[in-house]
């Protein structure tokens, strides 16, 4: 703890001490360097000055030297020697032992500068008449060094004091604001911290910038907090709404069918009940739609159209004709489901409003063109002029008195945002046609649109009376033993792999079908039948555990597939290879890894039994099937049957094979799992 205390210091301490030390060291270095430079420059300057001085002096004695007036030279030297700064003067003629003049005095520890000049006989300065040597003892340097030292120390002290107070004040200005801020944050009052108050006293630009950043940060935190609360509320509301819609729909359906079958009521009362039911249904749908997010995901377009048509029927009592020959599983697309809902709903509304009484109803056609789904919404209503169409399509808005604000422009935009293309054709008096084109995607693994019956025993668990009746009517004719239970019977049931199960998810009492399937390990022979197929948590769980979901919304078109073939276990892997050794090896591996496996010696043999295999089966075909048959070619026949997970297995170099568009991958002959 003590060492930690020493490491963490207050801002003034952390800032002040290093700055102070760096400042002092810098000043010392700078001062010393400056002193050396100045003294060096001074020495050069003084030397030059003395050279001139000495040259003038030598000029003054030159004629005396040349005219032999040695005593005059001596006299002038004597006068010169009285100068305090001259420590020694020597004047001598070359080749003469005795100097004309030699004077010296002790100079102490003063700096000495020795300069020599020569006096020449001739103008060409070739013949030396005499040499003059003067040693200067410069008091200046001592004065300079002493005074510079004291001056330097004085300035240093002043600077240190100044720096101390400056740094202290600066660091206090920073720390004061930070301390105040931390205090406010400690009090937990972040949203009410006014940065202007906290940093008001600070004149430091960086501190003010920090204040702005923190202010923005706090503002963002506030916004995020509000968004978070709103999001949580929305999510909770959405969940409740979904639950309400789910709970309300079934009784509404019952109520509607009962209302239809009541013959004692007159038409007026019947219509009143019918309108009320429609209204409740519309409220429920709006509640669901308005709380859905506009995220892109994979969804079934046909189910969505069914829902919209049902909603419109409930809202307006007008049945929109819908025609398609596509299975639900072939109509999955990737986009924003809510965008599609709003856009299609709006387009259908437009068509309904444009409907002319004596003309046929509004119709929707869903078709497939290669990998694209094409949906055509058409009416034979009043139609729109080209100008009006361009106006509403490009300028937006709605001309309806009670419009929901989603015009053609918005519809187009929403479709296009959801990876679709939008085309509208309209002619006044003839009608309007909207063509929406979007790319289809594979159906999700969790989805199934068939009731696959794999055994003679079939068990259905649902507390919904309408579905109990549905199971009874659809499965009783298959010649199987059908048992229908509600949630209360679950405890007395035994689950096994030889029975086919159709189980509702919401079994009541906090029990969910998905959990039951997982718990009992009956994913391979079970189907979860639920209207909550859009629940993300449920989907994730089903994907994780391999549970198939059959949406109740498509129960009007239930396809029953009964596979009571030699293999009760659905094979997950198929190998088509004429090499029996390879087939035996794969079989052994599959058994060890508890994987369903089946092998065929030729493509023809597989085709004979193809109905016993799910279309999602992974089919591995040997590239060399013997008799000149190539797997990569023959595999097309299997693809045309609807199988899409087709692989070519080869013991040769993969690059030598051409990969056809239906082949997922070319792999080796090792067991793939």
């Amino acid at each position: 703890m003590e060492s930690k205390k020493r490491e963490s210091r207050s801002l003034p301490e952390a800032f002040l001490l290093p700055s102070f030390l760096i400042g002092v060291i810098s000043l010392l270095l700078l001062g010393s360097l400056h002193y050396l430079l100045v003294s060096h420059e001074f020495e050069i300057y003084i030397k030059n000055h003395l050279k001139k001085y000495q040259r003038m002096y030598s000029d003054s004695i030159k004629n005396d030297l040349l005219t032999g007036m040695d005593f005059e030279v001596y006299r002038k030297c004597k006068g010169m020697f009285n100068d305090d700064e001259i420590q020694q003067i020597v004047v001598r003629r070359p080749f003469e032992e005795k100097e004309i003049c030699k004077m010296s005095k002790p100079a102490g520890d003063l700096k000495k500068i020795k300069l020599s000049t020569k006096v020449f006989f001739d103008e060409n300065r070739e013949n030396v008449a005499a040499e003059l040597e003067i040693v200067y003892s410069i008091h200046f340097f001592k004065i300079l060094s002493n005074q510079a030292f004291y001056l330097f120390i004085g300035i240093l002290m002043l600077l240190i004091v100044f720096q101390y107070f400056l740094l202290k004040k600066a660091s206090m200005k920073v720390s004061e604001s930070i301390t105040l801020l931390t205090k406010k944050i400690d009090e937990g009052d972040i949203e009410n911290v006014n940065m202007k108050d906290v940093f008001a006293k600070s004149k430091i630009l960086e501190v003010r910038k920090v204040a702005i950043c923190i202010d923005n940060l706090l503002s963002n935190i506030g916004d995020y907090k509000k968004k978070l609360i709103k999001s949580a509320r929305n999510e909770a509301f959405s969940e409740i709404a979904s639950q309400v819609v789910h709970d309300v729909r079934s009784p509404l359906g019952v109520l509607r069918s009962i209302t239809e079958s009541i013959n004692d009521l007159d038409d007026a009362r019947k219509n009143l009940i019918k309108d009320s039911v429609n209204r409740i249904s519309s409220i429920a749908n709006n509640l669901l739609v308005s709380n859905q997010k506009k995220e892109n995901n994979t969804f079934c377009l046909r189910i969505l159209v069914d829902e919209i048509i049902a909603d419109k029927l409930h809202e307006t009592g007008i049945a929109v004709a819908f025609r398609t020959n596509l299975a639900y599983g072939d109509t999955f697309i990737y986009g924003s489901e809510i965008n599609y809902y709003r856009s299609l709903s709006n387009l259908i509304n437009n068509s309904i409003e444009a409907k002319v009484i004596d003309k046929p109803m509004v119709s929707i056609v869903l078709e497939r063109n290669s990998s694209n789904l094409i949906m055509t919404i058409s009416d034979e209503g009043c139609g729109m002029s080209k100008e009006f169409l361009e106006k509403v399509l490009y300028e937006g808005g709605t001309t309806k008195e009670k419009g929901n604000g989603i015009g053609l422009k918005s519809s187009k935009k929403m479709i296009e945002e959801s990876n679709g293309s939008f085309e509208i054709l309209s002619e006044v008096g003839i009608g309007t046609k909207v063509i929406i084109k979007t790319e289809s995607v594979d159906k999700p693994k969790w989805f199934t649109d068939v009731f696959l019956v794999r055994s003679d025993n079939v068990v259905c668990i649902d507390d919904d009376l309408s579905y109990r009746g549905l199971y009874k009517s659809k499965l009783s004719n298959l010649g199987v033993s059908l048992s229908i239970y509600d949630e209360e019977d679950i405890g007395s049931l035994s689950f096994d792999e030889s029975t086919s199960y159709f189980i509702d998810n919401d079994l009541g009492g906090g029990v969910f079908g998905v959990d039951l399937i997982i718990e009992k390990g009956i994913q391979a022979n079970s189907t979860l039948v639920t209207s909550m197929f859009k629940n993300k948590d449920l989907i994730e769980k089903c994907l994780e555990h391999g549970v198939k979901i059959f949406p109740k919304q498509i129960s009007n078109e239930i396809k029953i597939v009964k596979r009571l073939d030699k293999l009760n276990k659905r094979p997950e892997l198929v190998l088509i290879d004429d090499d029996k050794i390879i087939c035996s090896m794969w079989k052994l591996e599959a058994k060890n890894k508890n994987v369903s496996f089946c092998s065929y010696s030729s493509v023809e043999e597989f085709i004979n039994y193809h109905k016993t295999h799910d279309l999602s089966t992974h089919i591995y075909i040997d590239s060399n099937l013997g008799k000149g048959l190539r797997g990569e070619v023959e595999s097309e026949k299997i693809y045309k049957l609807g199988f899409e997970k087709i692989y070519i297995a080869t013991g040769y170099d993969k690059d030598e094979l051409s990969q056809s568009s239906w082949i997922v991958e070319i792999v080796g002959k090792d067991f793939p799992l």
Partner: protein
Amino acid sequence: MLELRIPHLPLSLKPTDIALMEHFLLLQCISQTLVRINENGDIVGDLAESWRISNSGKSYRFKIKNSFSHSGKLITAHDVALSISQHFWGKSVVSVYMEGIIVGTNDVKSGDILSGINVISEKEFQIELVDAYPPFLYVLAMPGFSVSFNGNSSGPFKIAKKENFIRLERNKNYRSSRIDLKSINVSSASGVSEVMKLFLLNKIDISLGNSLIDIEKMKDIPDDISITKTESLAFAHFYYNMNRKIFKDIAFRKDLSLFFQDIANKNKTGLHEFSPFFIPKGVMPAHYYKRKKEDFDLKKFAMKWKKFTSGKKLRVVVMSSVFSDLMLNELKSLLKDKLGLQVEMIKATNKSLMEILKSDSYDIVGGRYVGNFPDPDGFVGAINQNSSLHYGVFPTEPLFDDIFKVRHTKSPRERLEKYTDILIEFEKQWYFAPLYRLKIPIIHRKDIVIPETNFRYESELWKIFWNE
């Protein structure tokens, strides 16, 4: 090449024969002195490579450079000894400056070397002085003592042609100093007006020895012509002939001298610097020139001396090239008006004045004298009554006796102090009226550079160069 005009060509360029300043300048061109004074006023070796002066100051030992005469002969110590000695074989103009200084000047036979000059080797010789003489090297620097004997001289120029003009060409053997000129043509031209005509005709580049008065009168000088007023050691004074009764009264001489100085001061010009001292400024110690100024009042002067002078005659001979007509006319008229003196003003040329000086046929003489070196000994020659040419007639033996006593004073400063006392005392006799220090005018083309003379007193002709 430089085209030079001087008033008269020299008959000879032998050192012993020359008296005029312009001729000395030509002599400097063709010969070397042992030492010379450069533009900075420093003594520098010219022919001498080095020298050593004994502690007593009486012995000068010279070593000379390897210098060759114009004919290619090596100049030896013997040649130098003969060159100095020749001035005493008969008395030359400049011999007076060396007489009694070097041992043996009074008893040397013609063709012999002075006994005071000892030739040690081909390159070395020693001069023994009678006594220490501080300005000895300055005397040796006089152009008159150039080393030239029997035509053997080693100056920067050599004589290439001599008929009615002299052509000087550069001596390639000369190494002592830098020379910019290649050759000089020297011809004669008398009078400023003729000189200016020749300038206009582009026939000359430079002219020396012109009348100061004529130059002061010059107007409308062409743009490409300059007149450089060089410093010199020349002065111009009035001297009295003490053989005349009128000058016997010292008070009159003094007042008359003050009168002349008053007029001279009023008529000073750019070439005439008023200088009421016998020796020009810069030579003597300062206190020589710091004398109490004498007051002069013309009325008092007239009142005092009119009776004494009225009706008397004065013969005044002046060098016409030095004193202006204006000054001379004023002087003449005032002397007549104020003192009643009848003045006969004779304006003589330089040459004719020399004859007049020899005859003493004047009451007052005014003329120029060029000092030969910056020492009082270089000036006193002007009044030395023993000299063949001297200004004024008055007793100078006491002066020279006194000078002789102090001239060998070893300390130059002390020596000059003594000279100062002697000269001031002598000047109190008012045997002469000191008037001007003169500048020497040189007329030349603007692109000719005349070396400065602030320290040298005269410009060396051979140092003149074209500014390119």
